[in-house]
Amino acid sequence: MSFNESDAPFTWTGFSTKWYSVLVNSPNIMEGFKNTLIVAVATTIISLVLGTLLAIGLARYQKSSALEAVALTPAIFPDLALAIGLLALFTSLHITLGLHSVIISHALFCMAFITAIVRGRLAQIDSSLEEAAQDLGDSPVGTFFRVTLPSIKPALIAGGLLAFTLSLDEFVIAFFTNGPSTPTLPIVIYSMVRFGVSPEINALATVVLLISALIVTIAQRNVKVQDQI
C-alpha cells in the first residue's frame, strides 16, 4: 500500500515511492521519529541498568517471593491504569510533562520485563562461578564485570532489544505522560489518523514494522549464537 501512487489509500494506481519522500519531508513526522528514538534509547539504557541490578539483588541477596512479584507488576498491569497512575504521580510531585516523564514511565514498565529475563538467566548459571572468581583473587566489582556480566550477556541483549521495541511503539503511556510540545511517533500517527488514513501513514507503518522486525531478528540471532558457546 505504501508504494501506491494514488492519494486514496485503498485504491491501487501504480508503483511509487513518493510517500516515502513525503514522509522524510514532513517536519511533524520527523520530529516525532526523533522524539521516539530519544525515548526508546534512554528507556533501554535506564531499564537495562536498573532491571539488571534488581534481578541480581533478587537472585543473590534478597530471596523474597513477594518482592519478586512486586517487581513484575508493571509488566502485567494494564497500560491505562499505569498511565493514569503515573500522570497523577507526576502532577502531585509538580513534575512538568515532556520527554523526560515519558522516559521515566517507559523505563518503569520495561524494567519489569528486563528483570524477568535476567532473573531467569541468573537462575540457570552456576553461582559457584562467582565464588571461583573471588577465590582466584578477584574483587566483588571485578567479579561482576568479568564473570557475572558475560554470563548474562544474552539476556541483556534480548532484554534491551525488547525494551527498545516496546518503547518504540508504545502509545497509551506516552499519550498520558507526555507534554504537548514533544509528541512521540505513535502520538503523531494517532493525530494524523484522526483526519483519515493518508498514504504516508502506510509508508510510516512499513518503516516502523521493518525496524521492529530487524531488531527482533538481531535479538534472536544473538541469543542463539550465545547459547552455542
Binding site: 562461578l129 565464588e131 573471588q134 577465590d135 582466584l136 583473587g137 571485578g142 568479568r146 558475560p150 558457546i229
Partner: protein, 344 residues
C-alpha cells in the same frame, strides 16, 4: 613437624543443623590431607570456610601462625577446586587458567610462561584455545586443577574432585593428583565421601560425622585401630558383633565369641570388629553357618555366611577355595586380630 594450618574449635550452625561442632584439626605442611565422612557431615562446610566462602560462628583458624579468618576470600593464599569445576564458560582454557594470575597484575610474559608450564603439567597445552564446553569431564577437571595450582597457593582445597568422573579415569586422576602434590609441594586438603579414595591417596584422614571429628589418623592406623564403631563401620569392610562383654569373650545372640585383651569391664556393652581377611575357613571353627552367596572381586571373593546373627558374616577367600553356595562353613579367627570397642 609443627602444624601449618591450625583449625581450633570451629563451629557453625545453620538453623537447626549443627554443621560444624567444635572441630579442631592440625594439618602439616606438604601434607595430603583428606576430610572424609558421609554426606551432611560438615566436611564441605569446613572446606568452604577455609576458602573464605562461608563464615564461621566461632573458632580460630591460623595459617603459618597468622589469622586466616579475617582475610577476605580474594586475598587468601588458599585456592579451592570446586566440585562442579566452576570453569568460566565464556573463556577458553588458557584464559580460565590465566584468570587468577591476571588479578595479581603479573606482567604478560610471566603469565604466559606460568600458564604454559601448568598446562603442560596437566597435559592440556594442545587444548588451550578450547572452550570448557568442548572438553571431556577428565579434561575439565584438569583445567580446574591447573587454574587453582597456577596461583601457587599455600594450600589447595579440593571439593570432591573426582566424584564426577567414571571409575577408570578416577583412578588415573588419583595417581596424577598424588604426583602433582608431590611436584608442586603444596599442602592439599581434599573432601570426599569415598573411603577407598581417601585411604588410597591421603597421608592422613580426618573422619567426620554429624559435624564432629571422630578420628584423625593415617589410613593404616584408621583401618587397624578404629576408635569407635562408626569408624570401624565406615572404613573398609568389617563384621561388627554387638553384645555384652564377659571375661575373655563377648556374648552375641547367645553365642560366645573370643575377644582380645581389653580395658573394658565385664558386663559392658561392646562391639567386636573382625575384618573379612582375618577370618579363616576350616573344618571346625568359632562359628559356623550356611554360605548364602559369594561375590567375585578379581583376585579374591567375598563370602556371605549366615551364622544366625543380625547380619551375614563377610569372609574374604582365595578364588580356588570358594565352597559351593549352600554348604556349611566353619569360621575362626585369631582373637588378637579382632578389635573390641565400647558400644555407646
Amino acid at each position: 613437624m609443627s602444624s601449618f594450618l591450625n583449625i581450633a574449635a570451629v563451629s557453625k550452625r545453620y538453623g537447626d543443623v549443627q554443621a560444624l561442632d567444635n572441630v579442631s584439626i592440625e594439618i602439616r605442611e606438604n601434607e595430603f590431607f583428606a576430610l572424609l565422612g558421609p554426606s551432611g557431615c560438615g566436611k564441605t562446610t569446613l572446606l568452604r570456610a577455609l576458602a573464605g566462602l562461608e563464615s564461621l560462628d566461632s573458632g580460630v583458624v591460623t595459617l603459618a601462625n597468622e589469622d586466616l579468618l579475617s582475610v577476605p576470600a580474594n586475598k587468601r593464599p588458599v585456592n579451592l577446586m570446586f566440585q562442579s569445576y566452576a570453569l568460566f564458560p565464556h573463556l577458553n582454557v588458557y584464559d580460565n587458567v590465566a584468570y587468577g594470575l591476571r588479578r595479581e597484575k603479573l606482567d604478560k610474559v610471566k603469565i604466559e610462561q606460568r600458564v604454559g608450564d601448568v598446562l603442560k603439567t596437566v597435559g592440556l597445552i594442545d587444548q588451550k584455545d578450547r572452550r570448557p564446553s568442548q572438553l571431556s569431564g577428565g579434561q575439565m577437571q584438569r583445567v580446574a586443577l591447573a587454574r587453582a595450582i597456577v596461583k601457587r597457593p599455600k594450600i589447595l582445597l579440593l571439593d570432591e574432585p573426582l566424584s564426577a568422573l567414571d571409575k577408570k579415569v578416577r583412578s588415573e586422576m588419583q595417581l596424577e593428583l598424588k604426583r602433582l602434590q608431590h611436584e608442586a609441594g603444596i599442602t592439599f586438603i581434599f573432601v570426599t565421601h569415598d573411603q577407598e579414595e581417601a585411604m588410597s591417596i591421603a597421608n592422613r584422614i580426618a573422619l567426620m560425622d554429624k559435624g564432629k571429628v571422630v578420628q584423625i589418623a593415617t589410613p593404616i592406623e584408621m583401618y587397624s585401630a578404629p576408635k569407635t564403631k562408626f569408624v570401624a563401620d565406615f572404613i573398609g569392610t568389617s563384621n561388627l558383633f554387638a553384645g555384652a562383654l564377659a571375661s575373655g569373650s563377648i556374648t552375641v545372640k547367645g553365642k560366645s565369641l573370643p575377644t582380645p585383651a581389653t580395658q573394658l569391664a565385664a558386663g559392658a556393652k561392646a562391639v567386636l570388629v573382625v575384618r573379612p581377611e582375618d577370618i579363616e575357613l576350616g573344618t571346625n571353627g568359632t562359628i559356623s553357618g550356611k554360605l548364602v552367596s559369594s561375590n567375585f572381586y578379581g583376585g579374591s571373593s567375598l563370602l556371605f555366611v549366615d551364622c544366625g546373627f543380625d547380619q551375614l558374616v563377610k569372609v574374604s577367600c582365595a578364588l580356588n577355595q570358594v565352597p559351593p553356595v549352600g554348604s556349611v562353613c566353619h569360621l575362626s579367627w585369631n582373637p588378637s586380630d579382632s578389635i573390641l570397642l565400647a558400644d555407646a
